[in-house]
């Protein structure tokens, strides 16, 4: 379980880096309603990226 959480946090960090590049630090993001399916796909992509490294 530990490993999975780490990937998520890494993914979050990745988001932060991109946000920092635009010098926008945020607490949370408002956007068009994400489906749980789309969210799971993004987690899957993050896992794939983590595995490639």
């Amino acid at each position: 379980m530990q490993g999975e959480i780490e990937v998520k946090i890494k993914n979050e960090r990745k988001g932060e880096v991109q946000i920092e590049a635009q010098s926008l630090q945020v607490d949370t993001v408002s956007g068009a309603t994400l489906t749980s399916k789309a969210y799971l796909k993004s987690v899957e992509n993050a896992l794939m990226q983590a595995c490639e490294k």
């Binding site: 945020v26 607490d27 408002s30 489906t35 987690v43």
Partner: protein, 337 residues
Amino acid sequence: MIKYDFTKKACKTGAQPDNIEDVQSMNIGMSTVMTHRAFGRYAGEAIEAVRNEAVRMEALLSRFIPASEISRINRYAGIKAERLSGDTYEVLSRAVEFSRCCQGLFDVTIGPLVTLWNNSKDTCKPPEDSRIMEVLPLIDYTGLKLDPGEKSAGLQRSGQSIDLGGIGKGYAGDKFLEVFRKYGIKSAFTNIGGNVAALGTKPDGSPWRVGIQHPRQENSLIGLVSIADKAVVTSGDYQRYFIGSDGKRHHHILDPSTGYSAESGLVSVTVVADNSMDADALSTILFAAGKSKGLEILKSFPKTEAVLIDVNLTVHVTRGLRDCFQAGKDISIDILN
């Protein structure tokens, strides 16, 4: 099997006094991903209670759960009215008010049309025009009769159905903040798949910084709003859509008057309001209305502001947000009067 569910406790971090907990939680619910964060002595318990509240809301309001109150009303359309909980009655009453005030842009009985489009998503082909024309007469909120004495609701015509897509998550956001308050929390936010509702400020007294998703660049922001005690809800054409063989983007915000995806020249609308139910309904309505008509509608809602992004990605910000909106790099903004 991966469990997409975690709660993170970071006690005594930074400048937090010993008895202040900083708790964050993320899980799948209401067909989306929810994150909550709370600061306070009972932050952990509060978040647990909010998560239970989410389950309760979904069990009342989802039309995909057969035993929900909304499913019951839909099932007995044209047959009988159903007695409801205070919650379902409240959200339906407000949904009818919005349907009345924004005729042709928002209709709580849009269910049959949503079902038709949902079925076409897998094939990436829009439903046949004749099918749309067939269901269009059923989209008529005047057929939803509410009885305040009985606290009941019934659809007059068989085939009609309620869909709370443009308002239900907003209502849930308001309920979540009520739960936080009950636990003595003064600083928290909830984010239901992009619908944000914030309680108070951050523990240090600074406002919450809520990013606004860039409608055409994934993982990128178009800007942010700094807010306290406000809801920030966005409607956009960049989630829940498919590109048809004609190259057209068919997204989930349907225009109840045409039966097709709303095409108003806007790709994203963010509404900042005191409560998240209104912010949710208004972001959907403004998206369908377009810029000039949308701003006209917004005038009847005091203390409600908006960020409208048009097809050229110009960001139009209402005057009241001038000092709390910060644009991303290379983003052009237009402050509206």
